[in-house]
Subunit: 331 residues, 2 copies
């Protein structure tokens, strides 16, 4: 079997997760890492070529079939995506939900011009959760699909909100955990299809390390008033030492669910719920990206090109199992 040759673009948490995930795939292999920081990344990896993302001749010399773009949605992907897909198939986790139509359109044009497949906006949300929202709506017409995050006791670590806390003057370090409001989940499960505002569904718990001499009360007030990030939510602020933060609130745990409930035919209650729990959010995202890289290569080999989401992909293409085995063991 010829293995699918993967170029990993970016070497942050997700990029490292992709390398670990590829090591577990029998039908795929990593051919190199493309990065803006060649020297720095070369110090951390062994036996994998590290090349410059700005030198297409260099990364294409590794003969990759597909690039997994592990950069961020804000600064990296809008520019990097359309540029990379000129050279090869791509997969990314562009997760700025409101900009997905626009990103799709830009990637679609670039991918079609080059004859490549660009799988965009995949991971667990957007990605698996997008699929589950679509399926729930198709199978239970009239049901609204709701996404909840941080249903586990610890809650889910939000990188974006942790970063927002760290921008505040006087904050040395911080991490933010999102919690689902249990009663809101129950309302959806009961089929009430409620109208929620953001603050009805989630609460926010902050663990903040102060700089020496910082004013705790003023910082707590500033956090709670932060528009978009914290103001709409019931927010708790806990001041901790750096040691406590490092030992008790470490890692990248996250979890969530998609819930939809309505009735079938003669008014019989029906509900669907998809739930996932990840001790490492970036590794989970990486696993999903890797399965989609397999699909991207297969779709392109069968003559397809353009921007694709998880909603465009026949699910069998995500699996390493043969169609015969899927019929026999998975149907």
């Amino acid at each position: 079997m010829e293995k699918i040759r993967v170029l990993v673009v970016g070497y942050g948490n997700v990029g490292r997760g992709v390398l670990l995930s590829l090591a577990n795939q029998e039908d795929m292999e990593v051919v190199g890492i493309a990065t803006r920081s060649v020297e720095r990344v070369r110090k951390s990896v062994n036996n994998i070529p590290v090349v410059s993302i700005n030198d297409p001749a260099e990364f294409m010399a590794l003969s990759p079939d597909v690039a997994i773009l592990c950069g961020g949605s804000k600064n990296d992907l809008p520019q990097q995506g359309p540029e990379m897909v000129k050279y090869l198939n791509t997969v990314d986790s562009f997760d700025n939900h409101s900009c997905i139509p626009q990103y799709h359109s830009s990637m679609d044009a670039a991918a079609k011009a080059a004859g490549h497949v660009a799988v965009i906006s995949t991971g667990w949300d957007p990605g698996i959760f997008s699929l589950e929202r679509t399926l729930a709506n198709a199978f239970l017409p009239g049901a609204r699909s709701y996404g909840f995050y941080g249903l586990s006791e610890a809650g889910g670590l939000s990188m974006g909100h942790s970063d927002a806390l760290r921008t505040i003057k006087g904050v040395a370090d911080a991490r933010q955990f999102t919690h689902a409001v249990s009663e809101a989940v129950e309302q959806v499960r009961r089929g009430e299809n409620p109208d929620f505002s953001a603050g009805d569904m989630h609460t926010r718990e902050c663990f903040v390390v102060l700089e020496a001499g910082a004013d705790a009360a003023a910082i707590e007030a500033e956090i709670k008033a932060m528009p978009g990030y914290f103001a709409p939510y019931k927010t708790t602020v806990n001041f901790v030492t750096q040691e406590e933060l490092n030992s008790k609130y470490n890692g990248f745990p996250h979890d969530g669910c998609v819930v939809a409930a309505s009735t079938t035919g003669a008014g019989n209650p029906a509900s669907i719920e998809y739930r996932c729990r990840w001790a490492s959010n970036p590794e989970a995202t990486a696993n999903v990206l890797v399965a989609h890289a397999r699909a991207a290569v297969r779709m392109n080999k069968s003559g397809d090109c353009g921007a694709k989401t998880i909603l465009d992909i026949p699910p069998k293409l995500l699996s390493s199992q043969s169609y015969e085995d899927l019929l026999k063991k998975f149907m």
Copy 2:
């Protein structure tokens, strides 16, 4: 918008559910019911043409785009499926898991010869659960996917096991509820990927109405010894009156889940769980069949033919939403 024209084949619980489901679809309409019992069905429906399943000229005169085959897997579909797909696209819920590869092959040949699409073995299991097993395995390589049924307090009504009880001499009526073994579900959630025998995962609860003069103890012993159906399971037999059966154990409730747990990258625990609850199992199956009828027509219009399962279908084709709306509201 031109509506998708659906022929409903068979008028049992699922067929009636399909009619109710079609009434809720803006882009689809029922054009007729094809049945072996034309006279009987005509007495129960108004304003819908009822035609003979044995008269292709008659049912094709209704200009259907797709037939939803609501017959049983044992006696109806193996013969009816390959025959119907000669004339039009079909969707069915063939659910004899071990015979799916063989049924696929027979439907694939017939569908390709006729240039039609035959979506086979869809519903919630096989169907949604097959998809979720495949996705869980693709996203968490090494995780085994387990299916549990009857997690709700009432358990899930098994039609097959209820029928088996009714074949016993001295049994006037009966219904069988399946229950998941909670500790087994927890083992899977913990990522133990255990080896189960069937009896470790489910128990069986029977509600039996005796004929006058029947020997309760002998019947209970006969039930518990029934190979395949009850012998491998912890089985409880409750004798009830017909009135109790009708009032307390009525309807067709069912529920279940697919659970898979393993680790990502550096050994971080991860789990995926898909859960559904249906007050009416046949209506839920009907809703899934109807969404697949939409996909079958779309695939055929785009030039595709042959046997398809849920694993072959780009999920967007199941949805009545436009691609623009899917990108904007569901991604």
